[in-house]
């Protein structure tokens, strides 16, 4: 749901969502057709499958100034490509542990299964992440190591 009225200069988090085309992207479409409101701070990047999501994308997103990242796809057993999400999940388990240990707050990185019929869930997942990131504030740690360099790529 929309949050309370915004004060001027309130921190507005930037959230990137890596989603699969068949489940979560379509789930987000359903949230649209059902007119379920959610906070606008999220930008979806559509990929064919969670299997396509290279964990390095997540690092890239933080490098480029994202305050939070959502990774979402089809429920286990429902993958349009049969097993892409199983492979993805295995990578996430390893990757998540590494990021957690290295100090990327788990409030900034959420994983979810959102099917094409879960428009409502999509909005809940997104709002939950945005609220948590909002509470955690800007990703200062990354900003700090970021600010000196402007790299063209």
């Amino acid at each position: 749901m929309q949050t309370e009225k915004k004060t001027v200069n309130q921190f507005e988090p930037k959230v990137i969502a890596f989603v699969c085309n068949w489940c979560t992207y379509t789930g987000a479409d359903l949230a649209g057709t059902s007119r379920i409101k959610y906070q606008p701070n999220v930008k979806l990047i559509k990929l064919p499958c969670t299997g396509r999501i290279d964990p390095v994308f997540i690092i890239k997103a933080f490098e480029k100034g994202a305050d939070g990242v959502l990774v979402s796809g089809c429920h286990p057993g429902d993958c349009h490509y049969n097993a892409g999400n199983y492979h993805a999940r295995r990578r996430w388990i390893m990757f998540r542990k590494m990021l957690e240990t290295m100090g990327i707050d788990s409030n900034r990185l959420h994983f979810s299964w959102v099917s094409a019929s879960e428009g409502k869930k999509f909005t809940e997942v997104v709002n939950d992440l945005i609220n948590k990131v909002r509470a955690a504030g800007p990703f200062k740690s990354y900003e700090k190591i970021n600010k000196e360099y402007v790299i063209n790529d």
């Binding site: 388990i93 240990t101 100090g103």
Partner: protein
């Protein structure tokens, strides 16, 4: 049990192998890698508690592997890399001949009285894949301080901000020389993504941000593959304790999937296989 020199000599004489990758002495209490090509070269060969290098790194070099069957002197820990390379189609078992020994552990560094860290809790002192067995020379060493557990406890006691600070500081020492990559037997790509420019995966200059990304990506690409030989850390001129994050990933693989790399060549690799019952509890 055959003597190493005699064994290498006869292997080369009989043409069973075209070369043997091994060690030779390099000053006192130190060795360096050595490739014996002629039977006479065998005289230089040694295997003792100063043989710290992981020689399996040479097995992925085209010049070595394409030139006929290769003999290699390998401790149990090195054999794990050989197995991992077999699992990843880098080498074929029939192309190599493993000469191994019951390992006494290797010294932490030149003249050291304690084991190297990698020898702590080693489960492969008795080699698990070999073709010839020889004897390992050298005196008994004592247990070193367990630096890993200490470091892990320290990190786990920090909050996420402190951890980030800790690691970005640690990696800020990196000079992007990629010695870690060169020393690693598992880093064998034709072209590393660190060198890729379109698109740019990792900043080429040694910025804090690029250093952090490089070290994260390196550790991630090695997850489920690193056997913990610590050659990266030994090679690092900036003395970054690279083994910490490697070991962390190693432990995660073991806890989550009961997977240890380089133990069994028949096991499917960790990344590349899946179980429908893999842990789901972190996914909303």
């Amino acid at each position: 049990m055959t003597e190493l020199k005699n064994l290498v000599k006869s292997l080369l004489e009989e043409g069973k192998v075209t070369k043997v990758i091994g060690y030779r002495m390099y000053g006192e209490n130190n060795t360096k890698p050595y490739i014996a090509v002629t039977p006479n070269d065998a005289e230089e060969m040694v295997l003792n508690t100063d043989c710290r290098n992981n020689l399996s790194v040479y097995l992925t070099k085209k010049e070595i592997i394409n030139g006929g069957k290769t003999g290699i002197v390998a401790k149990g820990c090195d054999i794990r890399n050989i197995i991992a390379l077999i699992q990843e189609n880098r080498i074929k078992e029939e192309d190599i001949l493993i000469i191994s020994a019951e390992c006494k552990g290797v010294g932490a560094e030149k003249g050291s009285a304690v084991y190297a860290n990698k020898c702590v809790n080693c489960s492969v002192k008795t080699p698990h894949l070999y073709h010839e067995l020889v004897e390992m020379k050298g005196s008994e060493l004592s247990q070193p301080k367990d630096k890993y557990t200490e470091a892990k406890e320290k990190v786990l006691a920090m909050n996420s901000g402190e951890r980030f600070e800790y690691f970005s500081n640690m990696f800020s020492e990196c000079i992007k020389c990629y010695a870690c990559r060169q020393a690693c037997p598992m880093c064998y790509c034709e072209q590393c993504i660190a060198d890729m420019s379109i698109p740019r995966w990792i900043e080429s200059s040694a910025t804090d941000r690029g250093n952090l990304s490089w070290n994260m990506i390196r550790a991630f690409h090695l997850s489920g593959r690193c056997t913990g030989c610590n050659e990266c850390e030994r090679a690092c001129p900036a003395e970054i304790p690279l083994s910490f994050i490697n070991k962390l990933m190693y432990d995660t693989a073991k806890e989550e999937f009961n997977y240890e790399s380089g133990m069994n060549k028949e096991t499917p690799t960790l990344i590349g296989s899946y179980n429908t019952k893999d842990n789901d509890n972190f996914i909303q």
